[in-house]
């Protein structure tokens, strides 16, 4: 994503439609415009209220030259334009386009409006093809949802949503977030907490599932993490939690499509929730061209939503929307990630937004904005057993600097 450089100082924004398109009902346009704003309010604390009189964002459907020196060009070509916050945030749509609602015919008003409002809020065009803020109109998408790139962009400007409404903010319209509902397994939580991870806190991989839980895989077993330690009732067998999956996994992550990917040796598996999503395993060289076998770990980096693979001293960036998905400039040295060691055990982004790297019995917290491991007290690396598994007496040699926690 790209930020233009300005943003609104307030989060409660008002708007009005001063000029409507000729062929659509006003009420329908009103609803579509509000839906388009809801795309952005679903992921931030921004709110958009229709108002008369003076407003933050004025919306007009115009033809040809319409007073701003940037004339529209008739059907096709330029569909709309909008001004960044520093220039007022107004959005203009070419009235000569065949604007449509929930239809494959014409140009979808909702999608174009949501894109333009991204400009009104301070986002520039993105070079991520799948992003809403990519400059080209891609046709009507009935299952439209914001790309992670768009979400990262808008949250870089206005922060994450702190209230707990649905991300789409538009439940009755059936558009917005359309992620598959994962096929989750009810997991009874009973019994005492397992302490085997305290004895040996190394593990194979850590990842977030689509339903928001964090899991650790080690050998043939898995554990679910809580905010402070591990959940009671674990470990369980990977083969029971993810039928068809093998043990001793190298790496795992859940992508923005809601599907989880597991890697081992030269193979990978894809799951939708707890159900294998087709005929797996497949070769890494087939589904992740450019990525080597026997990787150390993989993660989706919150900084740009792209997939990063790590092995030894090197890392690869994988972007499924690009051809080739791995640029010729890769692999690069892990030393580019300031403070992160080589030969990693695992890596992932936790629910607090930070990226964590694990090596042996310790971990590092990476600051995506500073692009370096955080300089904190106690310093990193810290003991995984103590800070992640809730172990009070971490074995000798694994505490790192956590003793200074006091």
């Amino acid at each position: 994503y790209a930020l233009q450089g300005s943003r609104w100082k307030v989060k409660n924004l008002s708007y009005k439609i001063s000029k409507y398109p000729p062929k659509l009902k006003r009420k329908e346009v009103d609803a579509e415009v509000q839906r388009a704003f809801n795309v952005w309010s679903g992921y931030t604390d921004l709110s958009f209220t229709p108002k008369s009189g003076q407003v933050h964002i004025e919306i007009r459907f115009e033809t040809g030259e319409h007073g701003d020196g940037d004339p529209f060009d008739g059907p096709g070509g330029t569909l709309a334009h909008a001004y960044f916050p520093v220039f007022g945030g107004d959005a203009h749509f070419d009235a000569s386009e065949s604007w449509s609602i929930n239809s494959y015919r014409g140009t979808n008003l909702f999608q174009v409006a949501a894109h333009e409002f991204g400009h009104s809020l301070g986002l520039s065009h993105s070079d991520v093809r799948s992003a809403l803020m990519a400059p080209f109109y891609r046709g009507y998408d009935p299952a439209f949802s914001l790309d992670q790139d768009d979400v990262s962009g808008i949250q870089a400007l206005y922060g994450k949503k702190t209230t707990k409404s649905a991300p789409s903010g538009d439940d009755d319209a059936g558009v917005g977030e359309s992620q598959d509902v994962p096929n989750t397994v009810n997991e009874p939580e009973s019994g005492s907490r397992d302490t085997s991870l305290c004895q040996d806190p190394t593990f194979d991989t850590i990842f977030n599932s689509a339903d928001g839980f964090t899991y650790i895989f080690k050998g043939s077993k898995y554990w679910r993490l809580t905010e402070e330690s591990i959940a009671p009732g674990y470990p369980k067998m990977i083969s029971e939690g993810w039928p068809g999956l093998v043990g001793n996994i190298d790496a795992a992550f859940t992508y923005k499509n809601g599907k989880s990917y597991f890697f081992k040796g030269s193979k990978y598996w894809r799951y939708k929730g707890r159900k294998m999503d087709g005929d797996y395993p497949k070769d890494i060289s087939e589904g992740f061209t450019g990525i080597p076998n026997d990787i150390d770990t993989a993660m989706v980096w919150s900084g740009n939503g792209k997939i990063y693979f790590f092995k030894g001293t090197k890392f690869w960036r994988f972007d499924p929307s690009q051809r080739p998905p791995v640029k010729s400039t890769y692999p690069k040295l892990i030393s580019n990630w300031e403070g992160v060691p080589d030969s990693l055990s695992a890596a992932f982004q936790w629910t607090n937004g930070y990226t964590y790297f694990y090596k042996d019995a310790t971990y590092y917290r990476f600051n995506d904005r500073a692009f370096s491991v955080d300089q904190t007290n106690p310093a990193f690396p810290r003991s995984t057993a103590y800070w992640w598994f809730g172990c009070q007496d971490a074995p000798s040699g694994t505490v790192g600097t956590s003793e200074s926690r006091g």
Binding site: Q4, T78, H81, A82, H119, S124, P135, F136, Y137, S321
Partner: protein, 85 residues
């Protein structure tokens, strides 16, 4: 050399100018443009649009330039023209 006289070149120049890859271009006058500047603009556009970067106005590039799109510039404040600062 002047490249604006090549077939499709002038419309591509206007497009690249309109969306921020080149400096302002006047539609009603012929202009001389350094070939490397034009090539770089095409490369920048191809890279931004996720196309194979060739620097040439190939079919794929011309087709992409004809797609319906947003009128806001792709390149906003790249700083290319204030490198000496």
């Amino acid at each position: 050399g002047a490249v604006s006289s090549a077939p499709g070149g002038s419309s591509a120049m206007l497009y690249l100018s309109q969306y921020g890859y080149l400096g302002p271009v006047k539609a009603n006058s012929s202009q001389l443009l350094d070939e490397s500047s034009f090539r770089k603009a095409v490369e920048d556009f191809q890279s931004f649009a996720g196309l194979t970067v060739t620097g040439e106005l190939d079919d794929q590039t011309m087709e992409t330039m004809q797609l319906p799109r947003c009128g806001v510039k792709d390149k906003v404040g790249t700083g290319d023209n204030r490198a000496k600062r």
